[in-house]
């Protein structure tokens, strides 16, 4: 019996995020209850997943008591209304739910998330739009990457990048990578022809491979120089669609003195975003037709195109048009489960999904709740390649017992790690260490593990069972 079996999760709101959370949590073995006002949604979910559903208002004590919130370990409110989410969490908290998580999308509320957690007793506030915008910001800072994630309070960075023509790494194996090229990064995974593999020392890097690299954020620029990759600073960005993500993104970009042009078809929305983001240049037009009307020099002066409308197909086609016009960096917003994601492979288009950001956050939290009593609990979880590759961050407690946890204080080369796992980074005293054979794992460390298999909860799970 898994530990997850004892954990009861209650989700209010069966929208996109609610549904995807219900699916993932119930897959991982949690006991999931879903509450939604719409009978249709409720039926839909209870027919598709192994969860129990209640129809009703998620802020009503009666409904919540029926759903057994009092014994719920995790309460997640992801309805369409911020106010309802907060109210549901407050009610659930009073009724005895251990931890409450609310999705808040309104920027005016989400800036005061600390207030909610401190005064209202909410455990976690998340804003998927904001998270998605931060993810795009990281891509803008590192335009060569197709995905950038930060671990351990920004001390360690994960970058997914494609090996293109002219890269000096082509033909070298992983030993050369660190010794001949002297690059202080770690290759955690290689994706070749759609297959993900955890590389061994002898694997040779080929043209067209996608590499997953980890290291301290500062070491990447140096590494790119050594790889003979020219990075270009993004100075001018075009955004299609005045969505919430666009708002966060545009204000972050304007703050860094990037020239941002936003195109929105709806006049009211266009005026609203122009008001909210000073310094932003807003055009009221259809993104595609605006794009067509741009002169060649205008296109040339655009470093990045980011398509963030509510229509995935439109986003992708717009992005493809951008690729045809040779725009350096293209990011499009696609839904997590959209098959359109497949279309982005082998293109320069990176896709970002709000639901992914939200699901990652909650899944890692859910796992950490389960493993809370352990000494080596999960702190965070990140997924790449449509969830096929996971990066898990463990926090080792200081009072961990080396006698029980045999991997402590031993050089990594002597540890028997299962083949589908790789130690991708160690953070000690706020500094990132590239794990080499001689390094040891000590109590108090943050350990980042890269894996293609799923559902591990503790660091010790990655080691072969030693028969004592």
């Amino acid at each position: 019996m898994n530990k997850e079996d004892h954990v009861k999760v209650c989700i209010v709101g069966a929208g996109k995020v609610g549904k995807s959370l219900a699916a993932q949590l119930s897959d991982s073995g949690y006991k999931v209850t879903v509450i939604d006002t719409s009978l249709e949604q409720v039926n839909n979910i209870s027919n598709s997943y192994d969860v129990i559903c209640y129809q009703g208002n998620g802020a009503s004590t009666e409904v919540l008591e029926d759903a057994g919130v009092a014994s719920a370990e995790i309460f997640i409110a992801v309805t369409g209304s911020d106010e309802l989410n907060i109210l549901s969490c407050l009610t659930a908290h009073e009724l005895g739910a251990k931890s409450t998580i609310a999705r808040i999308r309104n920027a005016e509320y989400s800036v005061q998330s600390d207030f909610y957690t401190e005064r209202f007793g909410l455990t976690l506030i998340f804003n998927p739009d904001y998270n998605a915008a931060s993810e795009i910001m990281r891509l803008m800072h590192l335009p060569i990457a197709t995905k950038v994630e930060l671990f351990a309070h920004g001390k360690c960075q994960l970058v997914e990048m494609k090996v293109e023509e002219g890269n000096s790494l082509i033909g070298s194996n992983l030993i050369d990578f660190s010794q001949k090229h002297n690059i202080d990064l770690l290759i955690c995974a290689i994706v070749r022809k759609g297959q993900i593999m955890i590389p061994t020392a002898q694997d040779v890097i080929q043209l067209g491979d996608v590499l997953c690299l980890t290291g301290s954020p500062a070491s990447f620029n140096d590494a790119f120089l050594k790889m003979n990759i020219k990075t270009k600073r993004i100075k001018s960005v075009m955004i299609a669609g005045a969505s919430r993500i666009a708002r966060y993104l545009a204000s972050a970009l304007v703050k860094e003195h990037v020239k941002v042009t936003l195109i929105e078809r709806d006049h009211t929305k266009a005026v609203k975003i122009a008001d909210e983001v000073p310094g932003l240049s807003v055009m009221c037009s259809d993104a595609m037709s605006y794009f067509e009307s741009m002169s060649d020099s205008d296109v040339k002066n655009t470093d990045a195109l980011i398509t963030l409308t509510n229509n995935d197909e439109y986003n992708l086609i717009c992005g493809m048009l951008g690729e045809r016009k040779n725009i350096y960096r293209i990011v499009t917003k696609l839904n997590a489960d959209s098959t359109l994601n497949e279309m982005c492979h082998n293109t320069r288009i990176s896709s970002v999904s709000k639901e992914d950001c939200a699901a990652d956050m909650i899944m890692s939290y859910a796992k950490s709740v389960v493993a809370a009593e352990d000494y080596d609990a999960i702190r965070a979880l990140y997924r790449l390649m449509n969830g096929k590759l996971e990066f898990i961050e463990f926090k080792l407690s200081l009072d961990i017992d080396p006698a029980v946890e045999t991997y402590i204080n031993k050089p990594i080369r002597n540890l028997k790690i299962k083949p589908e796992f790789l130690i991708a980074g160690i953070i000690r005293d706020r500094a990132s260490i590239m794990p080499r054979g001689n390094d040891e794992i000590l109590p108090g460390d943050y350990v980042i593990v890269c894996t293609v298999s799923k559902s591990i909860l503790q660091l010790k799970d990655i080691f072969e069972e030693t028969k004592a």
Partner: protein, 483 residues
Amino acid sequence: MNKRKIIRTLGYIILTLGFLMIPSLIVSAIYQDGDSFEIGSTIAGTLVLGFLMSRVKAPEMKMRSRDGYTIVALAWLIICLIGAIPMYLSGVFESYIGAFFEMVSGFTTTGASVLSNPEYLPHGVGFWRCFSHWVGGMGVLVFVMMVAPMNNENSMHLVKAEVPGPTAGKLVPRMKETSMINYGIYAFLTLMCFILLLIGKVPVYDALCLSFGTAGTGGFSPSSVGFAAYNSYYVEMVVSVFMILFGVNFNVYFLILIKKVKDAFRIEEVWWYFGFIAFSTITIMANIMHTLPSAGQAFRYSFFQVASIITTTGFATVDFNQWPEYSKHVLILLMIVGACSGSTGGGMKVCRVVMVVKSFFTELKHIMDPRHISIVRLDGKKVEKETLIATRVYVCTYFLIICIVTLLISLNNQDFTTNLTAVLSCFNNIGPGFSAIGPMSNFSVYDDWVQLLLSLTMLTGRLEIFPMFMIFSRSSHEKRLSL
């Protein structure tokens, strides 16, 4: 709203006016130069009239926007008509219209005079003439609202009609308290000015008159000699600095008062205002330097004159009519710009100029690419479309009125500079103009009917155009359901 209610409200205003004249009676009693009877009888008559009018029974009715505008316009007219009585009775003025012009000039804080020797005025009447600046600067209605037992519910309409600037806001929830705070700041600054002038060895009576003229950004001097009588760098600097202070949006002082200094510095209009002052002072200084012995002297004259004109006060230390053309042109432009909104100054107001300039650039962008969405920001906040349209209409009407009035008074056969600057000066509530009505001459060059027309121009300028036209518009005369 019915006529009875308007009469009742006007009654309170007239009553307040009666009380406001009492300090003049006291001054007159102190100096004993023979105007106590005139002032005393006017006060008595005013109080009786006001009392009777305020006793008129009126049903409780909601005040609408146009009622507010009508009351404000009527109130200003009546106040000036009554206020001119003691002036006329004193016998210094040739006609009642001359006295009326002087009174309107006082209440609208213009400072334009038909007298060549104001020192011949008896002290009581002279004091009343300067004191009207102080009352008119902050607004008569605002004052009435503060003291009279009026229904405050709909008083916002009155304040909107009287307070200069495109938008009038409350500082605190209650209108009465807002008025009190504004008057408190106003009185405190006036007192400071008075004390500093006394330190500069200005006689008490002159110091009082000068500080009223400075505070209301009016511009009446107690004597025709003007500042030459004190011949003091110090006095001129004190007055310059205080004129500039009274030309600042009073919200700044309120924000400083409630310790929100950061927000106070964020008011964009004030920065533009200081920018205009700095630019004009420096360029005029360079322009007049060669005519004067030292740079210090040039600064003294240019700084004082720039401060005096942009705040629409209209004091003069020097005959700027003799200055080089560039300096004169800068001063004419400053006349139009005027002070900040929400100050005691007049003119078009800095924030309107800023908004018009900004909307020019957004329009330019829009023409270059019609898809471009650009918005006008002031203090970092979006300016609502309605405000922008109102501002544009205001600015257009403003110039239209100047053109029409200039054309009308041209019948009096003065030269173009005189006519244009007379209208600019009256409409913007400044005082002196150029040529025949320069700082060393006065408006007596014009016939009575021109003086009357210019008086109405002053009122129109002080009340920012719309209220004055409300009296004449047909819709406000329409017979409505009344008891």
